[in-house]
């Protein structure tokens, strides 16, 4: 295909065997250049010429009675066909408009340099100052936003924002936390019952000894010094009192429970989120069932392979269900009970050292009960402040 011919538009002319020489002589008389000259099956010929030349040639053929078949082609013809599809043209125009206009808005806010603060917290802080996804870039005054954000935040020492295309890149430096100073006088008391196994005293006066049983709330280390020479002196007691304790975990699993049975019908909604705007594409007119689960699925941040795209599709599915009563066997209940017990034991602090465990299971009319008695060695000293009235 001849590129200039395509760009300017062309016509394919065809005639039958009887008029071949007459048509060729007309072309010779006009001094035309043709392309894609080819014979047809019936002995006729077919070729392409420019649209303007074709128009003149067709006029000559009509005058001389030469039958001609004409087919229009090239870019102008295609654009004309496209122009008849108003929706396509409108869509293209909107796309171009958005492409040009979208460069004026913030598409993403990327945060770097944060360690204790989350990116979401920093984005929230900036959003309150006017910088967020969808903000109009020409109206943003970065210097003011940086200053206001620093003044309002106690955790940031430095903040800088610059635009990289449509992405706002935010660099922060956090303030170093000051060590907490607490000089208020305090005693150490027992958090729970136990038998003292060890003492680590940093400050204060021990009131218990190893092997002594203590109750919750009992004084372990005193922050009061009584001196015959200087009188009473108060301090903040500090240390660890390790004691053998017993923790009881009770897990109860009912033998009958309510189970969800999902129906067959479900309906879905599709929502297109573009910056702060939402557009629902489909919505069933039927009302949802009285009880239903709603499952929402959103395309991720790296949708279409592009990071932080401010466009996402949310799909919301409604699954109606009814509640029915179901029975579980003691074996199933026991398995669930063990799972729950393991979960609770895993939540224990690292400061608690288990040294023994006794587990007993029993079945009542309505439930299976799993009871675990855990022997531990742990620090039971907790500070309790007191006021000094002179």
């Amino acid at each position: 295909m001849n590129l200039p011919l395509f760009l300017l538009g062309y016509e394919t002319l065809e005639t039958d065997r009887a008029n071949v020489e007459a048509l060729l002589n007309l072309c010779l008389r006009r001094g035309l250049s043709v392309s894609d000259f080819a014979p047809t099956d019936g002995g006729g010929i077919r070729f392409r010429i420019g649209a303007i030349s074709a128009h003149r040639l067709a006029r000559d053929c009509a005058r001389e009675g030469i039958p001609l078949r004409r087919t229009v082609g090239g870019l102008p013809a295609r654009l004309l066909r496209l122009g008849r599809r108003a929706g396509l043209v409108a869509g293209l125009a909107v796309a171009v408009f958005l492409l040009v206009l979208s460069q004026k808005f913030v598409w993403s806010v990327r945060v770097g340099g944060n360690e204790r603060l989350t990116a979401g917290e920093i984005r929230q802080l900036l959003s309150e100052q006017g910088l967020e996804v969808g903000s109009y870039v020409p109206s943003l005054r970065m210097g003011e936003i940086e200053t206001r954000a620093l003044l309002l935040s106690d955790d940031l020492a430095w903040l800088a924002i610059h635009m990289d295309g449509t992405v706002a890149v935010v660099q922060v430096v956090e303030r170093s936390p000051e060590p907490a100073k607490n000089d208020k006088p305090a005693n150490l008391v027992a958090e729970r019952d136990g038998t003292v196994e060890g003492l680590e005293l940093y400050r204060g006066r021990a009131m218990v000894h190893i092997g002594q049983p203590v109750r919750a709330g009992e004084l372990l280390v005193s922050g009061v010094y009584d001196s015959a020479t200087v009188g009473y002196r108060y301090t903040r007691a500090n240390g660890r009192v390790l004691a053998r304790t017993e923790r009881v975990f009770r897990v109860e699993i009912p033998l009958s429970y309510e189970q969800k049975v999902y129906g067959e019908s479900s309906r879905a909604e599709t929502v297109l989120n573009f910056f702060k705007f939402s557009l629902k594409f489909s919505k069933n007119s039927r009302n949802p069932a009285a009880t239903c689960d709603i499952i929402e699925t959103t395309t991720g941040e790296d949708w279409l392979g592009m990071r932080d795209l401010p466009v996402s599709i949310l799909r919301r599915t409604y699954l109606p269900y009814t509640q029915v009563t179901a029975e579980r066997s003691p074996k199933e209940a026991l398995e669930l009970a063990w799972e729950e017990l393991e979960r609770r034991l895993s939540e224990l602090s690292n400061e608690v050292q288990p040294v023994g465990k006794r587990v007993a299971a029993s079945i009542t009319d309505t439930a299976l009960v799993l009871e675990c008695r855990l022997d531990c060695v742990e620090n039971i000293a907790v500070p309790m402040e007191f006021e000094v009235v002179e």
Partner: protein, 92 residues
């Protein structure tokens, strides 16, 4: 008779390039014929052209006309024979 070239012949020689007949062959794949007045016959095996006072027959396979610019006819294809014949001289 003088051996000197006549003015008319000289003028023909200098300026007759545009009006004289000429057939230029480019191998056996292309032929440009200048001074063609009319196309007498076309088929993919033979094209007959009317020149001044004679006919030119181009025979071959898959013959196609690609240009008629400037009174010349350019034919491409696989040429096998080029033949001049005397005729009544068809004027364009």
């Amino acid at each position: 008779m003088s051996d000197r070239e006549s003015l008319k012949d000289r003028a023909k020689r200098y300026f007759g390039g545009a009006f004289s007949e000429m057939a230029v062959l480019y191998g056996n794949r292309r032929a440009t014929v200048r001074g063609c007045g009319k196309i007498l016959f076309y088929s993919t095996e033979e094209i007959r052209l009317a020149l001044r006072g004679r006919e030119l027959s181009l025979r071959g396979d898959d013959l196609r006309c690609v240009s008629f610019a400037g009174g010349s006819v350019t034919v491409v294809g696989t040429l096998r024979a080029v033949e001049f014949r005397e005729s009544g001289g068809t004027r364009p």
